[in-house]
Every structure is written in C-alpha cells, then in structure tokens.
C-alpha cells in the first residue's frame, strides 16, 4: 500500500511540476466557458451592410434609418450599381445589401405595392440567414406600424415562453457540453497519452517488472487524472453558477455522482486507447480525431442531433458525451432526479464496463 | 606517443554551474594530437557536462576552451566541422535503415554525393554489415548500433571525436570489438576523447584524467597513475581518489 501511495504521488508530481499541464488542466475549462459564454453566440450586432437605393425618397430613407437604428447593423456602403454589389461582397466586408426599387414611394402610393430586395452573402450561410431574417422582421414591423396604424384585423398573437432559459443564454447548453469535452480531454486523452509515454520511453516495462502488479500501476496512473478531472468539473460548475448565474435546480450531490461516473467512463476509454497505441503521437491522434471532434460536433451541444442524417444519429448514439450532456442539463436546469435519467445513467455504466473489459483483454494478450 | 606533438584540445579554468551546483570546477588540461584521452569518473562527476561543452552543445560559465585551433565560444561552427560526437544515447534514427542513417549524416556535413557513396560502400565492407544495410536500426542489437553510431560520428573525417560513454550496456566482448574500432580511428590520426566509467577501458587509453565531484583529481598515463597512487590497477586508483 505504501508503495502504491508513493507511486500515485510520483504521478501527481509529474503533473504539477509542469506549468504547461496546469495550463491545459485549469486554463482550458475557464477559457472555454468564457468563450462560450461571451463570444460564441448566434446573436448579431454591428454587422456591416450596404444599401443600394435606386429611389432615394423619404420612405426608403426612413426604412434605412429603422434598420441602422436597430443596433444590429451598421451602414457601411452606399452602392450605385449591381456591379458594385458584387465587388463589395468580394471584399468580404459587408454581409448584406438592401436594394430599393426605383420610385419606391410613388409606387407604394399609386399602386399600393413596392418591393425591396434583400441580398445576403450566403458564403456564410448561417449568418446570412440570421441577418436576412432580422432585416425582414424590421421591415415588417415598419410596415405594420406605418401602414396599418389602426391595426390589422383578425390577429393571432403567438405568446412565446422559453422554458428554463427565458433569455436563451448560450451557456445553458455550453456548460454541459464543455464539461463533457473537458472531462473527455483530461481523463481520456491525458491518461492515454501518459500511459503511451511510459511505453514509448520504455519505463512501462520497468514498472511491469517491478513488484507492483499491473492493476495497481494502471490505477495509480489514473487516480491523479481522476482527481484533477473532478476538480475541473467543480470549477466549471462554479463558474457557470457564479459568473453566468446558471441555476442548479437538482440535487448537487447527485450531479457530482453522475460526473464521477462519466469520469470513470472516460478513464477506462483512455486506458483502452493506450493499449491500442504504442506512441504518444498515435494516442494523441486517436484521441483528437476519434474523441475531441466527435464530442464537439456529434454530441448535440453545438449542432442539434435531430437535424443530422440518420446515419450520424446512430453514430451519435455511441457518443458517451451525448448521454452525459442530457444528464447534466436535466439535473442542473430541469431539476430532474434519477427517475428521469436512469436510462442515460445505465448506458454510461454499460460503456464503462465495456471499455474496461476490452482493455483487460488487450492488456492480457500483450503480456502473453 | 610523441611527447612534442601539438595540443589539439586546450582547456583552461573551465567552470560550469547549474544554479549553486558546480558541475565543472576549474578544469584545466590539454589533449595532444592523435591521443586516446580517457575521461573517467563516477556517474554525476561532471563528465557529460564537460564533453557537452567541448563539443559545443552547452555554454561554459567561464574559462577558455580551444578545440583544433578554434575558440569554442567564437568559432563554434568551425569547431563543428572538425569534430564528431557520439552520445550515450547514440543518436541514430530507429526508423531509418543503416544506409539511410549514414547517408543522412554524411549529407548534413555537406559531403559530396559521390564521396558519401564510395565511403558508405567501404564502411559497410569494413563493418561486415553489407547484408544488413537495408534493415531498420530498431531491429539491430545494441552492440551493432554502437558500432554504426561510431562510424557515423567519424564519417566526415573529423580531427577529434568525442565519445560519451559509448559502450554502456553491452558485454565485454562487444566492448573489446568497439575498442578495436577506436584504435583504428586513432591510427588514422583521429584524436579520441572518451568518457567512461569502466575502469578496464581506462587501461586502453594513452592518458586518462579522473574526475570526482567536478574536479580533476588525477591526470597521467595509466601506468604513471598506478605508480602515483601505489595501486595494482585502475580500479584501485579510482577508489583511492573517490575516497
């Protein structure tokens, strides 16, 4: 036992001695949460647009003013021909051009209708869509206010309520996502790399012939990362609670227990990866391309899973992060107990056992 | 050995400190052209630190080092053309073949293609390694790797070769073979500067210096040292100094 504790201490020592490791362990979750909280959002403001006003009358000016006064847009170019629109888009500064047809006000008055063209630069399709929608709704509002001052008849007013997150803050989704990502990173990737490193340097053989049995060696390697992952998880939860005012509706202890379970899962996955790779470089590439990117993109925290093609939905079904994200958001935001999320919990337990069994099998094969 | 041969290595008051720890404490010695100079000491006595400074891999804290007529501080790149170096980790690329390693290092020294080719052929014959020339280094036994590493280190015909514990981890017979190669190189006029902690190897050297805790405690031919310390063999000399 004493030997074992000494071994664990050595592992901790390795981690703490290197500021770079500390950077990734603690800088990363903090940086990521802050970026998700403050930087990555689908809201737009200060988007630069151009106006091609062929009419230049009072109404077109009024509409232009409405659009620029909204705060979403900055009028950066006044264009005078179709050619100029294309040139402006190619420079990549403006994202949208609003074109008023000739004699806009006159037509509106005499014929009762006039048209506006919104041309959005859809080389960034996502932003183009948002930008065009915002513009359209500003124009529609103008139309209602000015032209239907007495009010439209027969109005159906949708009353929209956003449950759990009435301001639609991005962090609500990003906190569970970041937790999954960071725990995967620290637990699975770091363990796999650190074990692969021992193999590469030949020190693993030294350990294996030492009086320590293989199991304690692996456990010893894994414990520090488990502790660090757990601290990380708590840092993330604290940040989201104190900085972003995200609620913790459910049972805190239950949340921690589920987190611990996920960490176990990630660690056993890390061990499995390390049995399959014989150099740090390989372990890193497997971790990066088989874990990080899929965890980011297939677990549903940036892009909703339901929108993906069927095949990808099946792949996402084997992403442990997907279940963990559901668990975290249910406990933290919806306040659910085990009766709601038992299925997800069972799946993660199952995955953990599977990874452990696979690595034991691989490990044995190698020893023989 | 010609007593009047010129000095090819001159070291004066060489000091290297790591923080408060003094790894080399005012080392002063000369090595004569064509000599096999042994640099002895226990692990941690400061041998590797000194050899790294002499071969231009590390800056001294103070002191003068002159190698093949060039100042190690000021004419580092000229020094490098004239030396070869083999570390205890004998740095061959494990994932390259024997031939590829030789060609690579030859190329780095700017030797001509034709010269590299010819010399590689004669080297392979001399080492009797023609059959294994296309095997990866990783598949070879340790002793062979050391021989190849040594051949690579003197491939560009340097004036001096620095060997840092070149024979670690192999059996006495392989070590003997290795020393045959050192003698051969010496006959061709290459000065050999070798660190070791095997005392029997000290007997093969023309002169040896014995280091302890950063200082040179004895420097002479093996015979003279044995007389000086009234010892039967180098082992005893060493033990007396270390005590």
């Amino acid at each position: 036992m004493k030997r074992f504790i000494g071994f664990v201490k050595k592992e901790f020592h390795h981690i703490f001695r290197d500021p770079r490791t500390m950077l990734i362990l603690f800088g990363m979750p903090i940086a990521q949460i802050l970026i998700f909280g403050y930087v990555v959002s689908n809201e737009i403001n200060d988007v630069k647009i151009g106006v091609y006003d062929k009419s230049k009358d009072n109404i077109t000016k009024e509409i232009t003013n409405k659009i620029t006064a909204s705060g979403f847009f900055i009028l950066s170019d006044n264009l005078n021909s179709d050619k100029e629109i294309e040139d402006a888009f190619k420079k990549g500064i403006i994202r949208e051009v609003i074109v008023f047809e000739q004699n806009f006000a006159k037509k509106l008055e005499r014929e009762g209708s006039a048209s506006i063209q919104i041309i959005a630069d859809a080389s960034d399709a996502n932003t183009a869509n948002i930008v065009a929608n915002y513009t359209e709704s500003i124009i529609n509002n103008y139309m209602r206010e000015e032209l239907w001052a007495e009010g439209l008849p027969y109005q159906i007013n949708p009353e929209v309520r956003m449950l759990y997150n009435d301001e639609l803050k991005g962090v609500y989704m990003f906190v569970p996502g970041t937790m999954a990502l960071i725990l995967m990173l620290v637990s699975a990737m770091m363990t796999s790399i650190s074990i692969a490193r021992e193999k590469e340097m030949g020190t693993m053989e030294v350990l294996l012939v030492s009086p320590l049995k293989p199991l304690p060696i692996v456990i010893g390697k894994v414990i520090p990362y488990m502790v660090l992952s757990f601290i990380n998880a708590i840092v993330i939860i604290a940040l989201s609670y104190f900085v972003f005012k995200m609620p913790i509706q459910g049972n805190f202890i239950f949340l921690l227990a589920e987190t611990l379970l996920f960490i176990f899962m990630a660690l056993s996955l890390g061990i499995l990866i390390s049995t399959a790779s014989n150099s740090q470089m390989v372990a890193m590439f497997i971790s990066m391309f088989a874990l990080m990117l899929p965890t980011m993109l297939l677990s549903g925290f940036i892009f909703p899973i339901e929108n993906m093609p069927k095949l990808l939905q099946w792949i996402s079904a084997v992403m442990p992060a997907k279940y963990f994200i559901t668990i975290v958001k249910n406990i933290m935001i919806k306040g659910s107990g085990i009766e709601i999320i038992w299925k997800e919990t069972v799946i993660i337990v199952g995955m953990t056992l599977f990874f452990l069994m696979m690595s034991v099998k691989k490990f044995k094969v190698r020893l023989e | 050995m010609n007593e009047n041969a010129e000095n090819i290595i001159e070291v004066k008051d060489l000091v290297k400190k790591f923080g408060n720890f003094v790894a080399n404490d005012h080392l002063t010695f000369e090595v004569k052209k064509g000599e096999i100079f042994g640099f002895l000491g226990a692990n941690g006595a400061g041998k590797t630190t000194a050899i790294k400074i002499l071969s231009g891999l590390s800056y001294p804290t103070s002191g003068d080092v002159n190698i093949a007529g060039y100042d190690v501080y000021k004419e580092r790149e000229k020094v490098k053309k004239n030396i070869g170096y083999m570390s205890q980790r004998f740095s061959l690329y494990e994932d390259l073949t024997v031939r590829e390693n030789i060609r690579f290092y030859g190329g780095i020294y700017g030797l001509s293609n034709k010269y590299i080719k010819e010399k590689t052929e004669s080297l392979l014959d001399r080492l009797k390694m023609r059959e294994i020339q296309n095997l990866l280094i990783s598949s070879l036994p340790l002793g062979w790797k050391q021989k190849i590493a040594f051949s690579v280190a003197i491939f560009h015909d340097p004036k001096i070769v620095f060997l840092d514990e070149p024979t670690g981890g192999v059996d006495p017979i392989t070590r003997r073979d290795f020393w045959e190669m050192i003698y051969e190189a010496s006959h061709e006029g290459i000065t050999v500067f070798v660190t070791t902690h095997y005392m029997d190897e000290a007997e093969y050297c023309d002169r040896v210096s014995i280091m302890d805790r950063g200082k040179i405690e004895g420097l002479d031919t093996p015979g003279a040292l044995k007389d000086q310390f009234k010892a039967q063999n180098m082992d005893e000399v060493f033990l007396k100094i270390a005590r």
Binding site: T21, L23, I35, V39, V40, S41, N42, N45, V47, F89, K90, R95, G112, S115, I116, Q117, I119, A122, D124, N126, T127, A128, E136, N140, M143, Q155, I156, P158, V160, L163, L168, G170, M173, M201, Q280, M284, F285, F289, L293, L298, I302, F303, E306, M308, L312, K329 | K80, K81, S87, R89, S91, L92, Y93, L96, R103, Y105, G107, I108, Y109, G110
Partner: protein
C-alpha cells in the same frame, strides 16, 4: 565566409523526413485517412437546419379554426406531432424527458375571440436550454402561425390578395449559396481546421520527438545552420498540408459539389503563406517544450480557443471587442474568411490582400521567433 543556405543539406533533411513519414504505418492513415473521414462525417453534422421538431399539442378550443391550425403543423415536414392531451403538466413532463421541443397550447375561446374581438392568443412553450435550437424553433413556429394568420385574414376580409395586406414586398436572395446549403459553407471551414491541426501538430511534435530520443543532439554538433534545419523541417509538412487541402477539396467537389469559383492558384498561394504562420507556431511551440506531452497541451489549448473564435459558424464582427482583438493573432480567423471568399465568391488577390499581407508579416514573425528560440547550444 558566410555562405547562403546550402540547398543540398536541406535536401538531405527532406529526404530523411519523408522516409520517416512514409515508413510509419500508423501515422499515414492518421494523416490522410482519418481527417478525410472526419470531413465527410462532420460536414453532415454541422447543420442548423431544423428538420424535425417534436411538438406536443394542447387544444382546449377544439374548434374548426384550431383544427386548421394544428393540421398546418401536422402537414409540415418539419414538425412531428408526438402527443396531445388537455393537461399542461403531462406536456411539461415530456419536455423534461427531452421528448418534446415545443408545446403549442390553444386556449379555450380561441376561435370565438378571433371573430369577435379581432384578436386571439396561442401559446408556444419551447424548451429553451439549447438557445440556438430554441430560437430557430420559435422562428419556424411563429412563421407557420403568421402564414396561417394571413390566410385567415384574406379569407375573412375577402381581400383580393395578400398584396393589400403587405404592400412592401420583401424578396430575399442568398447569393453564392441560394439554398443556404450548410455543407457548402461548412466544408471549407472544417477543411481549414483539419489542415491546420495536422500540419501544426506534426511539426511541433516532430522536433520534440527528436529531442526526446536524443537525435537532436547529434544534429546540433554538426555544422548545420539553424535556418537550414528549420527550413528542412518546414517543407515536408507544408507539402503534406497542401496535399491534404487538395485531397479535401477534391472530396468536396466530387461528393458535396462545393463550388470553386475563384482561382485555385490564388487559394494555394494563400495557403502557403498561411502555413508559414501555422508551422511557425508549431516550430515555436516545439522549441519551448521538451516533451511531446507538453507540445500537445500547449497546442491543444490555443487551437481550441482559436477554433471557437474563428468564425466557423458565427459572425466574428458581432463578438465583443476584446474577442475581435484576440482574433488579430488567430490564424484560423484569416483563413476561414479567405477560403470561403475564394471558393464561394471568387474573390481576387486585391480582395484578400489585407489578409495576405497580415499573414505574411505574422508568419515572418513566428518563423523568426522559432529560429531565434531554437538553440543549438544550451
């Protein structure tokens, strides 16, 4: 006798690097196979189009009008009606279980109020946790309702057409990607990430690996110049990265039909400048690290931050000012813009000259830093 770089020495380094890369059975698939699979998969994943919204219905009115409204939703390919009852609690429970995205509640008196009071309400309760999805669901559902509303108005007032209702006719056009096909715009973005990750990690890990196994020491006692060494390390990975890009573009063209409007020469020329920055950063990281693990940690940290801020799926000009300042040193930011500009819009050299020269300066700085930090002597 200061001579220029000796091309021949560099040739030997190149030869050695390529032999090592192509000899490694595990790295080759990692470099070429895995990223391409990733590209194909991730391009499909990265979409914000809502294809199936799970809706729960509470219709307390049970009128002709409410039936009509519900059948509007049921008839839409985007909606999937997954339950109906009169109990709000039952409905909310399905939201807690993540089975429902939105509840529509039509109150008692919906039709009556519309006819008599000229105004009526309908409630949408949306699971707001995923803010992005929630606002899209809101937009979709609201537009279904307002479409429905317009038809009702036209029916009830017997107006001749919608024209009178909406005198300003807004027509939206999406240039360069009419159908707002996400793949066309995500593929170049993901390709940028893959090319960058591969080339940066390979470079950074490569030199540190030589440090770890000790061969770097052997190189340092040779008369090779720092600059020759750095160039010898740079070129192989640049070639690999360019291949990777070409490969990815070919896949994009063949399988996803991404348009290539601009000049490929310009794109590859720009990529070379971009790679100077990326590889410069990689080399710099490797000169300040002593183990592969450290390299990975540093690189991972910066890469993740840079990717998230690159504008791959959000507008960079809408970010807070400090984030925009950070983006000045974010290589992804420049390339993300430029690859889309060249491929999709056909921008020319003068359109991207700002990015080009910025990266050229950036690359020169990073490479000089790497050469300066690379120590032959400790």
């Amino acid at each position: 006798m200061k001579k220029l770089i000796k091309v021949k020495k560099i040739k030997y380094i190149l030869q050695k690097e390529f032999t090592q890369i192509f000899r490694n059975r595990t790295m080759l698939p990692m470099i070429f196979g895995v990223p391409i699979i990733q590209l194909v998969i991730l391009v499909h994943a990265a979409t914000l189009e809502m294809k199936s919204i799970d809706m729960y219905i509470i219709d307390k009115d049970l009128s002709t009008m409410s039936h009509k409204l519900i059948s509007k939703f049921a008839g839409s390919p985007f909606y999937n009606i997954n339950g109906a009852s009169f109990s709000l609690n039952e409905a909310l429970e399905t939201i807690e279980k993540n089975k429902t995205d939105v509840i529509i509640q039509i109150p008692y008196g919906f039709e009556r109020d519309l006819i008599r009071e000229n105004e009526t309400n309908v409630q949408l309760l949306i699971d707001g946790i995923n803010g992005t999805a929630a606002s899209l669901i809101n937009a979709y559902s609201s537009s279904v309702i307002s479409d429905f509303n317009r038809n009702i108005i036209v029916d009830l007032t017997q107006m001749p057409s919608l024209k009178n209702l909406e005198p300003i006719n807004v027509e939206t056009m999406y240039w360069y990607n009419q159908e707002l096909n996400y793949k066309i715009y995500m593929l170049p973005g993901i390709l940028v990430i893959l090319v960058t990750l591969i080339s940066m990690f390979l470079t950074a890990m490569n030199i540190v690996r030589e440090k770890e196994i000790g061969t770097i020491e052997q190189l340092n006692v040779t008369p090779i110049k720092k600059f020759e060494f750095i160039v010898g390390k740079l070129v192989p990975f640049m070639i690999i990265a360019l291949f990777e890009l070409a490969f990815g573009l070919a896949i994009g063209k063949i399988f996803f039909h991404i348009p290539i409007v601009g000049s490929l020469w310009l794109l590859f020329g720009f990529t070379i400048v971009y790679l100077l920055v990326v590889l410069g950063i990689g080399l710099f990281i490797s000169t300040i690290s002593s183990t592969q693990q450290q390299v990975m940690f540093i690189a991972f940290f910066f890469m993740l931050v840079f990717i998230l801020m690159s504008g791959i799926f959000t507008a960079t000009e809408s970010m807070p000012l400090w984030a925009q300042k950070v983006n000045i040193i974010n290589p992804f930011y420049y390339f993300m813009r430029v690859i889309r500009m060249i491929l999709l819009k056909g921008s020319g050299f003068w359109d991207i000259s700002y990015e080009f020269f910025s990266l050229l300066i950036y690359g020169t700085i990073m490479l000089s830093l790497a050469v300066w930090r690379y120590r032959k002597v400790s």
